[in-house]
């Protein structure tokens, strides 16, 4: 599904990603962990197409299509979804309002007929249940005055609406209490199937109790320095990141 080869990216001449290699297959859940500043969020942003980053080397393809060459909207239309770590507040734009445009532009790109108002509403009602989100929240200005939990549930709601092939959850657990975390995780798990894939970017193991990964990768100084199974996450939780840092620094020294 997603193939990343030797990906290098920088922001304002500061090199952040220094040769990422990753293969994510359909039906898989991959967790990207790592200490602060290791490049986790940068990887998520680069895949989604944030223009602040410059990709200097390497490639990223989704089902064989070159992602790096595409505008952010085309990546979304091809099936990439980024759940933001810090969802943007947009006064005057409601979720309902912009999702209708989003869905129909995605459908148009895929050669599908636009959804009429009734079908859209039906779809919305169905997806709202998934993350236990209220319609009144979706009619309000996007994320304005939302609690941390409401913002993240809204992200997963949008993911449910767009049904991506590749979902990237960027620190979706940050700022969530355990109940909100369960709701969000339950939403993600329900949306999971054999044809899509999920990348969970997180600092803590906590979320991985609820969204169980098939693979865990540790990012450090812009490279994946260790990969393993869920056990690796448990080990990180118990021992922290220092041993990995030492191991990696010793290897490059």
């Amino acid at each position: 599904m997603l193939t990343i080869k030797n990906l290098h990216a920088s922001i304002e001449d500061k090199s952040i990603l220094r040769g990422i290699n990753l293969e994510v297959k359909a039906g898989e859940v991959h967790a990207i962990m790592g200490p602060n500043g290791s490049g986790k969020s940068t990887l998520a942003s680069v895949l989604a197409g944030r223009e602040d980053y410059e990709v200097s080397e390497g490639e990223a393809t989704l089902l064989g299509k070159d992602l790096l060459d595409m505008a952010p909207e085309d990546r979304a239309r091809e099936g990439v979804f980024l759940a933001f770590q810090y969802p943007v507040e947009i006064p005057g734009v409601s979720t309902t309002n912009f999702m209708k445009t989003a869905i129909n532009q995605v459908r148009e790109y895929r050669g599908q007929e636009p959804l009429d108002a009734v079908s859209f509403l039906t779809l919305m009602k169905e997806k709202m249940k998934l993350v236990d989100i209220d319609q009144s929240l979706l009619s309000r200005s996007l994320n304005e005055g939302f609690s941390g939990g409401e913002k993240k549930r809204n992200e997963i709601f949008q993911m449910a609406m767009l049904e991506p092939k590749l979902a990237i959850l960027d620190e979706t657990d940050s700022g969530l209490d355990i109940d909100a975390l369960k709701v969000v995780a339950n939403g993600v798990n329900t949306l999971k199937n054999k044809d899509n894939a999920t990348i969970v970017v997180t600092h803590y193991q906590r979320l991985l109790d609820y969204i169980v990964p098939d693979y865990v990768h540790v990012l450090y100084k812009g490279r994946i320095v260790k990969s393993g199974t869920k056990d690796l996450a448990m080990e990180l939780e118990a021992k922290g990141y220092d041993w990995i840092k030492e191991e990696a620094d010793a290897a490059t020294a």
């Binding site: 197409g49 909207e73 990546r75 979304a76 005057g92 912009f98 999702m99 445009t101 532009q105």
Partner: protein
């Protein structure tokens, strides 16, 4: 040519025009005629402003008028078709309608009724009849000593609207005044003068809608004096669109009495050079005032909003929100003065001016000006000028919206904060459609 000869050129033509105008009056105007002559004398002494005048620093309207207009008013042959005129009416708005074409009152296209407690009279008729309230109030509020264009209007205004709402009368249908300029064969001049008297505990909404049809320039010099008596509620709109070659210097001069409410809405989407002055005097306690403005500018449009609210007595509230989207080579100017006099304790006065610049050549000059002599007040002001929020753009695009759609959606949302304060649905619909068209929000 030096500045003074430029000014004199315009002034000399104004004097000629005044003589012609006087000749038509046949001495029938009494007091008002005296006011006109005084205004003209003031104008002669003070001249038209250039950019050395702080109030016109960014808007060199005098130079523009000199360059573009002859001020030799020629009789125009009206070529407008009925459909073209009716096309300018706000769809679905059930209103008392007054139509002025090239500054002249058009009885044919106007449609209003004088219900009990509501007087609507075109200005020449009101003057000829020596209407008592008109004579008592005309020129008493808009100070021709303070602004050359108030003086110009006071001396030359032939036409306009006199509206009087009796005490306790609630006027449900808005009063909508359309100024349509047929510029297809000539330049046009419109010196409309309005006097609006809202009686005690009365309620009314007045709209002034400006537009041009044709390829030549139009010059509008409108002055509206509005008196809001005790407990009265008056709302006033100025809508300016379809005026790519429009030059406009207007003043809305408002005086509010005790416990009164006044709201002003100024929406501008085009104009070669537009200057809107809004001056509100709160002369008694517990007044409530709202000032809303939205300017969406492109091409070489130049729009300047100068507002003043003068809190003279305690316990009044004023709130101001002006927003602008400025692209291409256009320029927006905002100057907002708030005065809080020493007696005006417990004043609440808020002001906000926000602008989005969409090109490197777009310009905004914004200046909040607060002068506060009272000590127990709550006042705030803020102005922001920036570009479209990049994070918001990325967020929307990451959900599949095209760059153009995301941009239009964000700009539309920015504008909505002003439009959502409009409560008359057909007017709101009209504004939303004007804004959508401008922002290419075709979804």
């Amino acid at each position: 040519m030096s500045n003074s000869t430029i000014k004199n050129g315009l002034l000399n033509q104004v004097l000629v025009n005044f003589e012609k105008f006087e000749a038509q009056l046949n001495g029938t105007t009494g007091n008002i005629h005296g006011t006109r002559k005084e205004a003209l004398e003031t104008l002669k002494t003070q001249g038209f402003p250039d950019t050395r005048n702080e109030e016109y620093k960014y808007t060199n309207i005098t130079k523009a008028l000199e360059k573009k207009f002859s001020f030799q008013e020629e009789p125009t042959t009206l070529s407008l078709k009925k459909e073209e005129i009716e096309d300018r009416f706000i769809k679905g708005l059930d209103a008392h309608r007054l139509v002025f074409i090239n500054g002249e009152f058009s009885r044919d296209y106007s449609d209003f009724s004088e219900d009990a407690g509501l007087e609507i009279i075109d200005l020449p008729t009101a003057i000829r009849s020596g209407h008592e309230a008109l004579t008592a109030h005309f020129g008493k509020y808009a100070d021709y000593g303070k602004d050359a264009f108030i003086a110009l209007n006071t001396s030359l205004a032939k036409n306009g609207t006199f509206i009087q709402v009796s005490a306790n009368k609630v006027i449900d249908r808005p009063i909508c005044i359309y100024y349509i300029n047929d510029t297809s064969s000539n330049q046009t001049y419109n010196y409309a003068r309005n006097l609006i008297l809202g009686g005690e505990n009365s309620q009314a909404t007045i709209l002034e809608v400006h537009s041009d049809l044709g390829a030549h320039e139009s010059f509008s010099n409108v002055v509206s004096e509005i008196v809001v008596k005790q407990r009265a509620r008056i709302s006033h709109f100025i809508l300016q669109s379809e005026q790519e070659k429009g030059y406009h210097v207007g003043t809305t001069q408002v005086v509010q009495e005790k416990d009164s409410y006044f709201a002003n809405y100024a929406f501008t989407t085009s104009g070669e050079m537009i200057r809107n002055n809004l001056n509100i005097d709160l002369i008694a306690e517990r007044c409530e005032t709202h000032m809303y403005g939205l300017y969406l500018l492109n091409g070489k449009a130049h729009v300047d909003n100068h507002t003043t609210v003068d809190h003279q007595q305690p316990n009044s509230f004023s709130n101001e929100l002006y927003k602008g989207i400025i692209e291409d080579r256009s320029r927006g100017v905002f100057n907002g003065k708030i005065y809080v006099r020493q007696a005006a304790q417990k004043t609440n006065a808020f002001q906000s001016n926000k602008n989005i610049l969409l090109s490197d050549t777009a310009v905004v000059n914004t200046k909040p000006q607060l002068e506060i002599w009272a000590d127990d007040v709550k006042c705030s002001h803020g102005c922001t000028t920036g570009q479209l929020d990049e994070d918001a753009m990325f967020y929307l695009r990451a959900r599949g919206l095209s760059k153009d759609s995301a941009r239009a959606l964000l700009l539309y949302a920015f504008a909505t904060e002003v439009v959502e304060n409009v409560t008359i649905q057909p007017v709101k619909d009209y504004l939303e459609s004007v804004i959508s068209t401008r922002l290419h929000k075709d979804f």
